[in-house]
């Protein structure tokens, strides 16, 4: 490697580190000194009630939002101070599933899913079409390449967003509520996909969820956020033993329903 650009040597055991991050929107503090580490090749789940700041944390991890104070390291590189074009380079490591899918509504499903390939790969048209078919298959969608996002159901849109996020096979995938609004069978296959990516391809995943069941299934580490504060951060196995009153309440409500 002779080029002078930031070539990150992945020597730190963490793919993402969020350090002392504070963020306010106007007078409204949303993140209050958040610290969070995501181990390389592992799945980190962030649990928390609506409006607690989960999406805001995730947008910091990929540089869509800049913290008021604190740092975010991706493979050891501080992305809060990077110029925009270098930040774009760092983002090639990422895939992200948006909470509301965020599909390009002027493009068909096929064009949406192939967008990252057309931008960043040199594959032939046929190879791209094949790849798109394969990734749509992973999320149980067939023969919808020619449809427009407006013609799809909410759950289908979400799954197209999933396919688009993983089509370049990135090393880090951020999932903002990947299974919310999906039926139990599809939820199961998405959970399996996340597990599989981690086990077989050593993909690092960050999953935001409301769903404690899914969380326990896919997580290596779980963090619970409440009103912009990380109130618990433990390996998945230990979450049931948490003594934090909010975490106990959050989990108990869920377990009672089972």
């Amino acid at each position: 490697m002779t080029d002078t650009t930031v070539v990150s040597v992945p020597d730190s055991p963490y793919a993402i580190e969020v350090k002392n991050v504070c963020k306010s929107f106007g007078p409204n503090p949303v993140l209050k000194n958040v610290n969070l580490k995501v181990r390389r090749g592992k799945t980190r789940v962030i649990l928390g009630p609506s409006g607690s700041g989960k999406t805001v944390i995730m947008k910091h991890m990929i540089g869509l939002l800049k913290p008021d104070s604190g740092n975010i390291l991706v493979d050891g590189v501080d992305i809060t101070t990077l110029p925009h074009n270098e930040l774009l380079n760092v983002r090639r490591k990422f895939g992200m599933v948006f909470q509301q899918a965020a599909l390009f509504d002027s493009m068909t499903v096929g064009e949406n899913v192939s967008f990252p390939l057309r931008e960043h790969s040199v594959l032939s048209k046929e190879a791209i079409a094949e790849k798109v078919r394969e990734k749509l298959g992973v999320v149980d969608l067939k023969n919808i390449e020619h449809k427009y996002p407006a013609e799809l159901s909410g759950g289908m849109r979400k799954r197209v967003g999933l396919a688009r996020a993983i089509v370049l096979e990135p090393s880090i995938v951020l999932y903002d509520e990947p299974t919310t609004g999906l039926d139990p069978l599809t939820t199961d296959s998405v959970d399996k996909m996340i597990l599989d990516a981690s086990k077989r391809l050593n993909v690092t995943s960050v999953v935001i969820s409301h769903d404690v069941g899914s969380a326990l299934l896919v997580a290596d580490d779980i963090a619970v956020i409440h009103e912009g504060v990380i109130v618990e951060d433990v390996p998945a196995k230990e979450i049931r033993d948490s003594t934090h009153p909010f975490v106990r309440e959050f989990l108990h409500t869920w377990f009672r329903k089972q």
């Binding site: 380079n89 965020a102 390009f104 509504d105």
Partner: protein, 281 residues
């Protein structure tokens, strides 16, 4: 800290309040002007850098240019015709009907074609750009593009601004052509002005620099309206209402700026033209 408290105290004074408001408006207006210029500069810089988005550029050229053909032909023809109809009355008082073509075509080439074209294209194109980019912003499509390591300014704004810089002058030239036709039809067959005199007066007195004057201005006006439309859309916030506001502001700001910039550019360009010594301004 102390300056803000001074401002607050001033704001409590009923006489000073309007001045504080005007001052604040001026400051925020200038700040926004700076941001628009910055946005424009980065869109241009990115347009000169790979990846070159040729397909997107062609699509936008079609939208801006081909899509505006009809309205420009319609407004151009009627402008030429009505301008002739109105002017000929005044000139008749001096028995100068035959110079009506000259008067009309100087007005059209230098002012009406670039300005009216820019206004028509603003209504059609700047509004569409603001709405489209604004919707993409509030539905996180622009964020999604960022996340996929594609620069959204380069993907969305650069082709639109370049397309507009190319197509608006072409439309303006089309406006000149159809206005000529409209003026001719009004002057010769309808008003019965002698054809030979009508045409020779135009050939004598309308110079190529009159046409170029309008052409140069329309390049800048094309850049202006697309930049404002894209900037407003790109920075939209707050759902459907935010997109609506962005569109309204894009059209209003761009239309006003067309007039202001047109004046500035006219004054500048006239410094380089032979007419400069004939009038003092």
């Amino acid at each position: 800290m102390s300056s803000s408290s001074t401002l607050e105290r001033l704001n409590e004074n009923p006489v000073a309040r309007p001045f504080v408001a005007i001052g604040n408006m001026a400051i925020s207006g200038l700040t926004e002007l700076g941001l628009v210029v910055q946005f424009f500069a980065s869109a241009v810089a990115l347009a000169c850098r790979p990846p070159f988005r040729v397909t997107l550029l062609l699509n936008q050229m079609e939208f801006v240019g081909v899509g505006s053909l009809f309205i420009i032909m319609l407004t151009g023809t009627f402008t030429g015709a009505v301008f002739t109809l109105q002017t000929v009355n005044g000139l008749a008082q001096f028995n100068l009907e035959s110079v009506v073509g000259t008067t009309v075509m100087i007005g059209v080439t230098r002012e009406l074609a670039p300005v009216l074209t820019a206004l028509m294209v603003t209504g059609r194109v700047a509004s569409a750009m603001a709405t489209e980019l604004g919707t993409m912003r509030v539905t996180e499509q622009i964020d999604a593009m960022e996340v996929m390591a594609v620069n959204p300014v380069q993907y969305l704004a650069s082709p639109r601004i370049v397309a507009s810089a190319i197509m608006v002058p072409c439309l303006s030239m089309l406006f000149v052509a159809v206005a000529y036709a409209g003026a001719y039809i009004m002057a010769v067959p309808v008003l019965g002005i002698d054809e030979g005199a009508y045409i020779s007066r135009i050939q004598e007195y309308v110079a190529s620099y009159d046409v170029m004057h309008g052409f140069y201005k329309s390049i800048i006006l094309g850049v202006l309206l697309a930049t404002v439309g894209c900037y407003k859309g790109y920075n939209a916030a707050g759902g459907a209402r935010g997109v609506g506001n962005a569109t309204t502001q894009a059209v209003v700001i761009s239309s006003i700026s067309v007039f202001v910039l047109d004046y500035v550019l006219s004054a500048l360009l006239m410094k380089f033209e032979p007419t400069y010594n004939a009038v003092s301004y």
